[in-house]
């Protein structure tokens, strides 16, 4: 007992900054949940969902070095699971008016959280089926195979009308409005990812990223480890997709076109492939940035009526940014570093040093 108490004491002493920071974050979410208007609320919810899905993608692509592009597909599975299982039974007849819902599903309605977790597991199950052939492939092949699978999933959802209502999609899904759902789950997933990355599994992931053959020679079970990473990633993505469905209140196959995956790719590239904190920062920057750039799509209200501002410009600017990051800023914001207290202190010192160096050189110049 005494032993654990002392351990807890040292733990608190070592990590008090992190604990205080977490407290501030929780307080911030709580305050935001009370005071924020519905537009900003939706945006923040979206940020949190993007954190979840990008972290999952970074786990596979950044930490394990397996270039998977199946995010949109796994999100679709999670989203549809939540949609199908939580839509109120009384409104189903109105939604499924072309073809009635399959009888084995028609009378099942589950609480949101159960459907959400089930969505995660559905996504994991599909990832298992996909992973067993695909993870034996390397690099580029994996990319194209997972991309292909995410398209197949979309095609299947478009065609299984009695379950997913086909191209019409499912409307009037009960929505979530509290920030606690998305941010709470995002926090859990962030902590889980940090623990995972710093465990022996995490080290195995990174060793595969650095050199597959060397990792195998060192006794890492290559296929099993890749699969673990892939399945965990799929679970998180499925949960993210489920939250996405509950946030928007509607799902249809077009939302999960594979260009959706590119959003997450942009996030992990900008944040740094292999950095958890980078991914979190980039999720907010990209999601809020996409919103902030929205003025590009509208005619300018002031000055000359330039015809270049019209729908589509925002995405052009956006894709230019992606190219610029890849070409000139390849490591992203964080590279493979993490935003730890030591890292901040280091940066702070180096900036201070650089400033004082400048100062001395300026003074030296004066003397001359």
């Amino acid at each position: 007992m005494n032993e654990t108490q002392r351990n807890l004491g040292t733990y608190l002493k070592d990590h008090w900054k992190t604990i205080v920071f977490l407290g501030i974050v929780l307080l911030g979410i709580g305050l935001a949940d009370i005071f924020v208007d519905s537009y900003l609320r939706r945006l923040l919810n979206l940020c949190a969902i993007y954190v979840i899905v990008s972290l999952a993608m970074n786990l596979v692509n950044g930490f394990t070095g397996q270039f998977s592009l199946g995010q949109a597909g796994f999100m679709a599975i999670g989203a549809y699971t939540v949609a199908v299982l939580t839509v109120p039974i009384e409104s189903r007849a109105a939604i499924f008016y072309l073809e009635p819902m399959a009888p084995f599903l028609a009378n099942i309605q589950l609480p949101f959280i159960v459907a959400l977790i089930l969505g995660g597991f559905m996504s994991t199950a599909v990832a298992f089926l996909i992973g067993s052939p695909c993870l034996r492939l390397r690099g580029d092949y994996l990319a194209i195979a997972t991309l292909g699978f995410s398209e197949i999933i979309r095609i299947v959802f478009t065609n299984t009308q009695s379950i997913t209502n086909g191209a019409l999609g499912i409307k009037s899904i009960p929505t979530i409005s509290s920030l606690w759902w998305t941010f709470g789950i995002a926090l859990i997933i962030i902590i889980a990812t940090i623990l995972l990355i710093n465990s022996s599994y995490g080290r195995a992931f990174k060793s595969i990223r650095e050199d597959e053959i060397a990792a195998e020679a060192m006794g890492v079970a290559l296929f099993k480890t890749k699969m673990t990473s892939f399945l965990i990633g799929a679970f998180f993505t499925g949960v993210g997709g489920g939250l996405f469905a509950a946030l928007l209140g509607t799902v249809d196959p077009k939302q999960f076109y594979f260009t959706l995956t590119y959003n997450f790719l942009l996030i992990i590239v900008l944040g740094g492939m292999g950095s958890i904190s980078g991914t979190i920062i980039a999720s907010f920057v990209v999601t809020l940035g996409q919103e902030a750039l929205r003025f590009l799509d509208e005619p300018m209200a002031f000055g000359l009526d330039l015809p270049i501002f019209r729908p589509g410009l925002r995405m052009v600017v956006f894709s230019f940014l992606l190219m610029a990051i890849v070409l000139f800023y390849r490591k992203g914001l964080m590279g493979t570093n993490e935003l730890t207290w030591d890292f901040i202190a280091d940066k702070y010192h180096s900036i201070k040093q650089a400033l004082s160096k400048n100062k001395t050189s300026v003074e030296g110049g004066d003397k001359k």
Binding site: N61, G65, V316, M323, R330
Partner: protein, 297 residues
């Protein structure tokens, strides 16, 4: 199904397959040399379709002028993309190159949506090519015959370039061993540029023929053919030109025949390519005509 409909479907499969083959060659050549899936290839194809559309439907140029301009502009586009987006990353990890390719594809799609609007534009029909003629009970559009012939001629020309000319020899050398080729004094940049030029030219011809067959252009038209043609290249053994042709034909035939034999599965038409891809990769990871790659430590 009668014999006639079966033959009819075979002709459809042949012309679709030849189109896929033309585009797949671009993938295979770039992959052979850079070990890169050029995700932007499908969008280069889309841009070529727009060049043709503008030449014929907007500026009313004669078709032969349009075709020459289209091929020229597309080659320029392909070479520029390589120069701007791939060459600076020559020494970077493969992942960066792949992301850059995805970025280019995303950029081209968005630029096209912005400039030409997301609405599909109707392409003027060529009555000469689309009015069917009849042999027995078969109704055949001339374009279905023209496509395989053009494709065959171009492939022969390409094989000649690859096997008999100096540039072709350099390409093969770079494909086998990049570093050694460099040491032997081959000008890598020139070879890669000409690869992109040839690949893009074939994509341009593919786009022109595609527009004859399916007379409508839109910014996202390159996505699905792009993916399928990549798959065709993988099926045949990526890096192998004959393999790309074979893969394109297999894909074209299986797609057309699936729709013909199982009309209920029409909705899954775009999925069949991916199913074939997975099956092939499971049993023949190097494709039908590919060589086994040795892992380097």
């Amino acid at each position: 199904m009668t014999m006639e409909t079966f033959l009819q479907q075979l002709i459809n499969g042949l012309s679709l397959g030849s189109l896929y083959a033309l585009i797949a060659i671009g993938y295979t050549m770039v992959y052979g040399i850079l070990r890169l899936i050029n995700f932007a290839h499908g969008d280069i194809f889309m841009m070529a379709a727009y060049f043709t559309y503008f030449g014929i439907a907007v500026f009313f140029l004669p078709w032969y002028v349009t075709f020459i301009i289209t091929v020229g502009l597309t080659m320029l586009l392909g070479v520029t993309i390589e120069r701007v987006a791939y060459r600076p990353l020559r020494e970077a990890p493969k992942t960066s190159l792949l992301i850059s390719a995805i970025g280019v594809s995303f950029l081209l799609e968005n630029v096209a949506t912005y400039l030409f609007s997301g609405k599909p534009q109707a392409f003027p029909e060529f009555p000469l090519l689309t009015t069917p003629f009849f042999i027995g009970g078969l109704s055949i559009q001339p374009v279905s015959i023209v496509i395989p012939i053009v494709a065959f001629v171009l492939m022969t020309a390409l094989l000649f370039i690859i096997n008999k000319t100096k540039v072709g020899m350099a390409m093969r050398a770079v494909a086998v061993d990049y570093d050694t080729a460099k040491l032997m004094g081959i000008k890598i940049n020139g070879v890669i540029s000409s690869t992109f030029a040839i690949g893009s030219a074939l994509a341009a011809v593919g786009a022109i023929l595609w527009c004859m067959k399916y007379p409508s252009v839109l910014p996202l038209m390159g996505v699905v053919p792009g993916l399928k043609c990549f798959i065709a290249a993988v099926i045949g053994g990526i890096g192998n030109v004959k393999g790309a042709v074979l893969g394109g034909l297999i894909l074209g035939f299986s797609e057309v025949l699936m729709v013909a034999f199982f009309p209920a599965l029409t909705g899954y038409r775009d999925a069949i390519a991916f199913v074939i891809l997975i099956v092939i990769l499971l049993f023949l990871p190097n494709g039908l005509l590919g060589k086994k790659q040795v892992e380097k430590v």
